[in-house]
């Protein structure tokens, strides 16, 4: 059975003035469905770049990247946006909630890109908020929530479309220990109970310990890959 995410010779090159920056360099990686993978490494090692490529919000300079059998490099920007909306749930370090929308409306946003009826949207949003334990805060605006609650809303937004893959960029980086644990427990539960495939960037070994596999990157290459030790 082929992997859900297949990277072959994946390279990303930026140019800053005359300087060439190569955050990913000929990287090969497979991520199987239903696994929780943590990406670790020093700043500039390419972990966030890899995450962005898998999430379809950035494009590789060379190499191939197949997700769910789709070659992302072959998609136009419009096709890629549509693919993201249906395949990926993204959790940002700083939550990236829309401040003028309530928790409910923030979670509902990705569903507006689908053909769901209002009733279907309501059912899905309510279920997602219930799952992250914020059903009673559905009408709160982001400014009325704590950091941990905001991240849980962001998580609900990421899972509301029932994507096969959830990518998380330092999801606990801005949270205190208790809130971080709550988020990591939720991510673990998503894998265990719903069979989601998770890819998480983190600097925190405690966060990485929640994953099945930890991949260490340096200078755009994998330097170590091992099963996580809880």
């Amino acid at each position: 059975m082929s992997a859900l995410v297949e990277c072959r010779g994946l390279t990303r090159v930026y140019h800053k003035g005359d300087q060439e920056i190569r955050p990913l360099d000929e990287l090969d990686l497979d991520v199987d469905e239903g696994t929780f993978t943590a990406l670790m490494g020093p700043s500039g090692s390419g972990k966030t770049t890899l995450l962005n490529l898998v999430a379809g919000i950035d494009r590789a300079t060379s190499g191939t990247l197949r997700v769910e059998g789709v070659e992302l490099g072959a998609l136009s920007n419009t096709e890629l946006a549509r693919w993201r909306a249906h395949t990926i749930g993204y959790v940002f370090q700083l939550y990236h909630l829309v401040p003028v929308l309530t928790a409910y409306e923030n979670v509902e946003l990705p569903l507006l890109l689908r053909d769901d009826t209002r009733r279907e949207r309501h059912r899905k949003v309510a279920a997602a908020l219930e799952l992250v334990g914020l059903a009673d805060r559905h009408d709160h605006f982001p400014r009325q929530l704590s950091g941990g609650q905001e991240q849980r809303v962001a998580l609900a937004r990421a899972i509301v479309t029932d994507p096969r893959i959830i990518v998380a960029d330092e999801p606990t980086g801005d949270l205190d220990a208790a809130a971080a644990d709550a988020i990591l427990d939720l991510l673990g539960a998503l894998r265990r109970e719903l069979g989601k495939t998770l890819l998480m960037v983190t600097h925190d070994p405690r966060a990485a310990a929640h994953a099945d596999r930890v991949i260490h990157l340096e200078k755009g290459r994998i330097v170590a890959a091992a099963a996580a030790t809880s």
């Binding site: 919000i57 946006a81 993201r84 909306a85 940002f92 829309v98 401040p99 003028v100 409306e105 890109l113």
Partner: protein, 383 residues
Amino acid sequence: MKLLPWDYGVRNLLRAPGRTALGAGGVALVTALLVTAAAFVRGMNGSLAETGGLRNVILLGAGSEDSVERSEVKAGVAGIVAASVPGIEERLGVPYVSPEINVALVVNVDGQERQASFRGVTDAAYLVHPQVRIVEGRAPRAGELLVGRFAAARLDVPDERLAVGRSVDIDGRPWTIAGRFEAPGTVLDAEIWCDAQELRVATRRETLSGIVLTLADDAQTDDLDLFTKQRLDLELVALPERGYYARLHDFLAPVRAMVWTTALLVAGAALLGGIDTMHASFAARIRELATLRALGFANGAIALSLVQEALLTAALGALVGAACVLPLDGLAVRVSMGAFGLRVDGTALALGLGAACGVGLLGSLPAAWRCLRMELVAALRAD
């Protein structure tokens, strides 16, 4: 293309109320200015276009086609015309032939000398100028005046100074105001009428300025043209009354051009300011806009939402601007040729509202484009 919720655009307006108010205030100024400019031009055009009756013809002295005040027609010509030209409208045997004297006179009002447009008339004037309606007092007799509703504006004196019963001096002789009239949307509104014979004596002139006559429904101007060509001794030229005022309309083209140019320059400056303000507003939300893109919303859908915000701000400003200038409708404006009322009508308002929407649209699109063309990864990291 799936769109962002309407509420998103609306609530963003309340996010930075000061900025929204500033933007709306700018648009309100542009709207107010453009509506006022349109009201000015429409009032001016309207007063000239609607002064002449559709079936009215004005007989002037040959060579004076451009100015009735310079024209001279022999005093007895009106009777000859009424008797000789077929096809003139009649009522109860009275022909619609109005001998008139148009003259600019210096009036002494409380020691201040002002220039006013006078029209010496007979009873026939009320037949050929049916727009004229006496709204207070009565028609003037010897030594009396009938003043138009904008005559005070033309003289630059308070309206009550020309109230019925008050008097003004002309050439050292007091004339009492016997009545007031209105002739909405025409240049007559700014005139002062009196008896033609009285005015002829006061101005020591032997001649009329012109003769205004109304043709019957089915009459042609050919008979009148033929009359003026056969009676060369009378030295007359016949012009459709509307044509005469259309010439004045052309004469005022530079004034209209100046008004429009000023208004458009200010609107252009407001547009550039609007682009800058909106770019600052959108740029402050680059990361949020990038998040929407990352979720899968198309750039077009996000741009549409930003345009919606701009249009709502513009509409708010336009309504405020329009509300501010609505009370100016009918306000007398004094110009060298007389006075007319500002015309804040549907067309002027539609122009102002349309321009406001244009400022919103043209102001927001470049700003939205600049924000949305940014690379998604970089935009997600923006502060």
